[in-house]
Structure formats: structure tokens, C-alpha cells
């Protein structure tokens, strides 16, 4: 065992560290850190934040492309894009495959040939809506050539906006499917009701978010007002400018490597069973021998049942009694064996199984919260060190902490994943018993290695290194850098295991998993506005 454990802490007694392996990986990893190997396929930002202010600019680019491509006015381009859910490529595909006329007809776009009709109007015009003779200055002609008095147009627009049809307000003429020019709508409505005109503008702008599969509102509560636009795959996790991290596909918290379906089932299950299960899981655990619930308050992680069975509080597995504060001899944690509970009936087994995974999930999310509090104390430690150290580069501390957060997250969500992956049939993964067992062993080995190293990293990050002499700080620095590299690699391997070994291609369609982000979730970047340079 490495001497890393000399300053033992109560919540880590696992050790899967293998010396030979580590040296090789550490040197490989150091190289990787120094050369900052960029992640594959990151050409430009893959997600951008759209604020109230940049919403207009965000759609300008798409509008401009369509306006240029088809020589259309802005409101027609918008009508077209709203119909095709702001998918410019789709518009082009339809244009190529079906032609312009079909493209326009499907979207209800009517292109006029009456552009200079208004100049030919007589001084007085009969509006057939109000049946009134009105002066030519009091009428408006739309692109389709249909002319009515401003009063009637305004009434028509107000009714339609209030009906929530801002995005497609049609001409009043019978059998005319032309969409009215938004500039004309705006000027007429604002003369009567400026508030409604603003509402109209907002509806139009927000269509870019609400009718667009690449853009979604940030799910923050209270709402930050932002939306996120992604480049390609909707199965990704993003961080809004407001700081909220979420799954772009299902809009719940970031949950990779759990699939959206698994996460949905898991959160529902946690809710349904929270009252009963929470109390039980916090205070008691079933004995692996007699299934009696055993109560623990404080003390080490070895508990004893009245039947005499000793077991591990963290994983519930049976153990011997020989133990130290940090380890139980001969015991490795995290493996849940279904046949342990052979004597219990099915329903109870399911609950126990759930409790097992729920405990591990909760233990890690709790650790995550504790570690998040480390952030402040670490900053203090750094400033202490800065006062007296010759080397002023303490990026290894913050990098180490970031690595701890990221790998802890992966670890937490790997438990609900495992619950469904190797569980009953609620997600219909259809495996033979043997297949499941092989896969479960494979996965749990990876998971345990990650677990062990995350705990180790957590331990190091908690050390009072600001009080260490310089050479010990240097030693800790190397350990943290090495461990960071190892946990990063293990996270990556865990994802590879899921995608290559556990789920086949058909299952991966149902269970799309947001990719591992070695550098943390991508913060949505400020919108880059390209249309100005192109125009």
C-alpha cells in the first residue's frame, strides 16, 4: 500500500492503486497535461448563450441566409423559417428536391407581383371590410396587392396577436394566404397600442427559441432570461451564462453517464420512494445475512447485526470483523451481488437493490456538496502559500479541485446508470443472465477504480498543505497532478466501457449518453455574430 494513506481520513479505506501501472500512466498523463491536447471535434463553440439582447442577432444570420438565397423580404424569410422550424438546411433540401413553388406553398408564403400597386391608387378608396370610402393615405396595401383601410387592418392585427397568432398573420382577403408584412403590422399596431406592438415583436423574436430544435430556454428557476443554442447534437450537457448546468435534451440537471430515459425513471423513483426510503437509507441498512435493518449512528463503517454478521455500511456487503478506521480487511466496496439476497422475496429484493444504489448515489452527491465547500478554504490555502513559496504557480490546486468535481459527478451518476443497466427490465435492455453478469463485472471494476482514485484525490485536496514545508508541497503537487490524470483517464474509460462494451448500437439509440467532458461542461459562449462580416 502506498504511503498516501498515512494521513488517513474516515471516508476512504479502499485501495486499488497499482504501482506499476501508475508510474507509466502518470508520465503519460503529465505529457498530456503539458501539451494540452485539444478534444476532438471542437471547432468553435458547440453551444452559445442567447440573451434578450442578442436574440435578434441570433436569428439574423439564419434570416439573412434565406433572404440572400431566395431574394426574399425579411418577413417572408421568417415565415418560411418558422414553418421549417428554423432549420436552414431543411429549407435548402426542400428547395432542391421540390422546387421553389412547392417550398413556398407548403409554408404559406406568397410572393407578390404587386410591388408598385400602391402608387396607382385613386385619391379615395373603398375599403370592403368596413364598406367605407377612405382617403388613399388611410389605406395599406400588402405584398399580395390587397388593400384595406388602416383601421380595419389594425383591428385584424390586434385580434390575431391576442389570439397568439403573431407568427402567421394572414391577409384579410378571402382565399389569400399571404402573410402580412411585419413592418406594416408593427407600424399600424404601435400607433394604436404600443404595448401590443412590443408583444408582437417579442412573439416574433421568441419564435426563434420556441419553434427551433437547436435552441432551448435555460430551465433555471427563477428564469435567467437566456436561451442556449447548440451546433449539432442535442444529446449534450451545457452550462448557461447564469451558471446552471443542464442536459440539453431533457432539460433536467446534467446526468451523464445516465441516459435521459434512465435519469427520468431514476428521479421519479427517488421522488416516489423518498419518504419511506430516505429515512431507512439514512439511518439503517439491511443485514446481508438476516435482512434485519441495522441502525448506525456515527462510528466506523463496519457495523454488526444482532445475528452476529459484520458488514460494510457503505455497500452493505458482508465482511469479516477485522478492520481499521479506514479499511475492512479483505473487503472491496461497491459490488452489489444479487444472490446475496436469495432468501428475500422479489419485491423486497428490488427495494433493497434500489436502496443500495440510492445510497451510493447519495453518498457521492453528498461528497460532491462537501467538496464544493472546499473551494473557499482552498483559496485561502493558496494565498497562504503565495506569501512564502518561491514557486507562484498554484494552478495544480485549482486544476486538481476541478478534476475532483468532474470525476465525482461522473461517479455519482454512474450508480443510477448501473441500477438500470444491470437491473430488472424497466428500460428493456434484454440481456441474458450470463451476459449481464459479465458486463456488470466489467463495469463495476472500472467504477471501483474510479471510486478509489476519486476518494484519494479528495483526500489530498483536503490536506493542510499551506502548513507544509516546500518540499512536501512539491511532493503533494506531483501526487495531485498524477491522480488528476488517472481519474480523468478512468472517467474516459468508464464512458468507453458503456459505449463499446455495455450498450449495443440499438440500445445506444434509446440511451444516448452525453459525451464525457474532460474539461467540464462547456460554458455556453457569447454569441458570435457572423452575418455582419458576410453581408
Amino acid at each position: 500500500m502506498e504511503d498516501y494513506f498515512s494521513s488517513a481520513d474516515e471516508y476512504c479505506y479502499h485501495d486499488y492503486y497499482d504501482d506499476d501501472d501508475d508510474d507509466r500512466d502518470a508520465s503519460y498523463g503529465l505529457q498530456e497535461i503539458e501539451t494540452e491536447v485539444p478534444l476532438p471535434c471542437t471547432k468553435g463553440p458547440s453551444c452559445e448563450v442567447i440573451t434578450k439582447e442578442s436574440l435578434l442577432a441570433a436569428q439574423r444570420e439564419d434570416l439573412r441566409r434565406i433572404m440572400d438565397l431566395l431574394s426574399l423580404k425579411e418577413h417572408l424569410a421568417r415565415t418560411l423559417l418558422i414553418h421549417y422550424r428554423w432549420d436552414v438546411d431543411k429549407v435548402i433540401v426542400v428547395l432542391v428536391e421540390k422546387g421553389k413553388d412547392k417550398l413556398y406553398a407548403e409554408a404559406g408564403v406568397t410572393v407578390s407581383e404587386h410591388d408598385n400597386l400602391s402608387s396607382e391608387l385613386p385619391s379615395m378608396v373603398m375599403c370592403i371590410i368596413c364598406i367605407e370610402e377612405v382617403s388613399a393615405t388611410e389605406v395599406t396595401t400588402m405584398d399580395c396587392g390587397h388593400c384595406f383601410c388602416n383601421n380595419c387592418w389594425t383591428e385584424h392585427f390586434i385580434v390575431k396577436i391576442n389570439e397568439g397568432q403573431s407568427r402567421r398573420i394572414r391577409c384579410m382577403e378571402f382565399n389569400c394566404y399571404a402573410i402580412c408584412d411585419e413592418a406594416k403590422i408593427r407600424s399600424l399596431v404601435s400607433a394604436r397600442d404600443p404595448n401590443l406592438s412590443e408583444k408582437f415583436d417579442r412573439f416574433l423574436l421568441e419564435s426563434y427559441i420556441e419553434d427551433n430544435k437547436r435552441v432551448k430556454w435555460c430551465p433555471s428557476v427563477p428564469h435567467c432570461g437566456n436561451a442556449i443554442r447548440i451546433k449539432d447534437d442535442e444529446f449534450c450537457e451545457v452550462e448557461c451564462a447564469c451558471g446552471l448546468q443542464f442536459c440539453f435534451n431533457c432539460l433536467s440537471e446534467a446526468h451523464s453517464p445516465c441516459s435521459c430515459l434512465m435519469w427520468e425513471l431514476w428521479s421519479k423513483k427517488c421522488q416516489d420512494e423518498s419518504e419511506t426510503v430516505n429515512w431507512i437509507t439514512v439511518h439503517t441498512k439491511p443485514c446481508p445475512n438476516c435482512n434485519k435493518l441495522v441502525h448506525k449512528d456515527g462510528g466506523c463503517n463496519l457495523v454488526c447485526c444482532v445475528c452476529g454478521q459484520a458488514f460494510c455500511w457503505l455497500c452493505g456487503g458482508p465482511t469479516g470483523k477485522e478492520h481499521t478506521w479506514t479499511s475492512i480487511s479483505g473487503h472491496s466496496c461497491g459490488q452489489y451481488k444479487e444472490d446475496q439476497g436469495k432468501k428475500t422475496e422479489r419485491a423486497k429484493m428490488d427495494l433493497l437493490r434500489y436502496i443500495h444504489y440510492h445510497n451510493l448515489f447519495k453518498a457521492h452527491t453528498d461528497s460532491f456538496k462537501r467538496e464544493a465547500e472546499l473551494k473557499e478554504t482552498i483559496q485561502e490555502k493558496i494565498s497562504h502559500l503565495e506569501e512564502r513559496q518561491s514557486s507562484k504557480d498554484f494552478s495544480w490546486v485549482t486544476n486538481g479541485l476541478d478534476r475532483l468535481f468532474r470525476s465525482r459527478r461522473v461517479l455519482s451518476y454512474s450508480y443510477p446508470f448501473a441500477y438500470y443497466m444491470f437491473g430488472d427490465d424497466s428500460v428493456k435492455l434484454e440481456m441474458t443472465k450470463e451476459e449481464k453478469e459479465i458486463k456488470q463485472n466489467l463495469f463495476e471494476e472500472q467504477q471501483q477504480q474510479l471510486h478509489a482514485n476519486v476518494e484519494k484525490l479528495s483526500l489530498f485536496m483536503g490536506e493542510p498543505f499551506d502548513r507544509y514545508p516546500e518540499d512536501e508541497v512539491e511532493e503533494l503537487r506531483m501526487k495531485i497532478i498524477n491522480l488528476s490524470v488517472i481519474t480523468d483517464r478512468l472517467c474516459r474509460k468508464l464512458y468507453e466501457c458503456i459505449e463499446n462494451d455495455l450498450l449495443d448500437s440499438i440500445q445506444l439509440v434509446r440511451h444516448r449518453i452525453a459525451p464525457y467532458m474532460s474539461r467540464g461542461l462547456e460554458k455556453a459562449s457569447e454569441l458570435s455574430i457572423c452575418w455582419e462580416t458576410e453581408a
Partner: protein, 157 residues
């Protein structure tokens, strides 16, 4: 609302003037309520409804003419697009294809056109719709004529 009232008043004056011009339609406004109208329309020639006089009831909404009036037959009629019991009419211009450019008078004209050209694919009266769709034009016509004679024709002698 003022706009709808003004417009209905204009239509009223127009109707008075055009009475002679369109002998097939007789639109009458309720004495006390300008939003309630009735119309008498002549069954179109060369249809089973020929010779009949059919009464329609209009309920005009306050948003008129931005929203369509509600129209139904008061006279019993056997027609695939008219509900046999309630007299409700299934006609696109009275729903999503409505345009404010329509008037009560032009709606009457559209209904006369519908009597001459039924739409068996959106039937409110399933029996007549089925007769027409199964190609039993003779069956449909005789039923329609029978009801027209019973309900829409002045009793002779």
C-alpha cells in the same frame, strides 16, 4: 363594439338597396338587435331543393367581421353538410377560411352554392353523406326532395 355595429349598419343599408338585385336572398335584421339576422334563401334550380324557401339564422359576434358569424338552417333540410337535427352548417368559410371581406349577403350566396354542390367528405348528416359517397345519387336526391317538399315549400291548396 362600434366597428361591428357600423359595419352591420352598412350591410343593412346595402341589403335594402340590393333587395331587387338578388331575388334569391332576403336578409332581415332583427328589430331590436343588430347582431341577430335571419335570411330566406331560394333552393337553387336543378337541385332537389328547387322551389323551396329555406330560412337561415345568423348570430353575429362582436368581433365581426374579423370573426365569422354563426349560421344555421331553421328549415329542416336533408343535406350532407348540414346537421339534420340542429341545422348547423359545415362550411370552411364559416371557420378557418373566414375572411373579413365576406358579408352576410355573400355568406348566403356561399350557402346556396353549397346546396348545389355538397361536400360528401365532411358530412354532418351521415345518412345523406353515405348515400352520396356510395354513388346513390338517386337515393340522396329523392330524400332531399321529400324533405324540401315537407319543410320548405308553401302548402298548395
Amino acid at each position: 363594439m362600434q366597428a361591428s355595429r357600423a359595419r352591420l349598419f352598412k350591410e343593412y343599408k346595402e341589403v335594402q338597396r340590393e333587395k331587387v338585385a338578388d331575388p334569391d336572398i332576403q336578409l332581415v335584421c332583427d328589430d331590436s338587435n343588430i347582431f341577430k339576422w335571419t335570411a330566406l334563401i331560394k333552393g337553387p334550380s336543378e337541385t332537389p331543393y328547387e322551389g323551396g324557401i329555406f330560412q337561415l339564422a345568423f348570430a353575429v359576434p362582436e368581433q365581426y367581421p374579423l370573426q365569422p358569424p354563426q349560421v344555421r338552417f331553421l328549415t329542416k333540410i336533408f343535406h350532407p353538410n348540414v346537421h339534420f337535427k340542429t341545422g348547423e352548417i359545415c362550411l370552411d368559410i364559416l371557420k378557418n377560411a373566414w375572411s373579413p371581406a365576406w358579408t352576410l349577403q355573400s355568406v348566403c350566396r356561399a350557402i346556396i352554392a353549397l346546396m348545389a354542390h355538397p361536400e360528401p367528405d365532411s358530412p354532418l348528416n351521415c345518412d345523406s353523406g353515405n348515400l352520396l359517397r356510395s354513388g346513390d345519387i338517386r337515393g340522396y336526391q329523392s330524400m332531399a326532395r321529400m324533405y324540401a317538399r315537407l319543410a320548405a315549400m308553401p302548402k298548395k291548396g
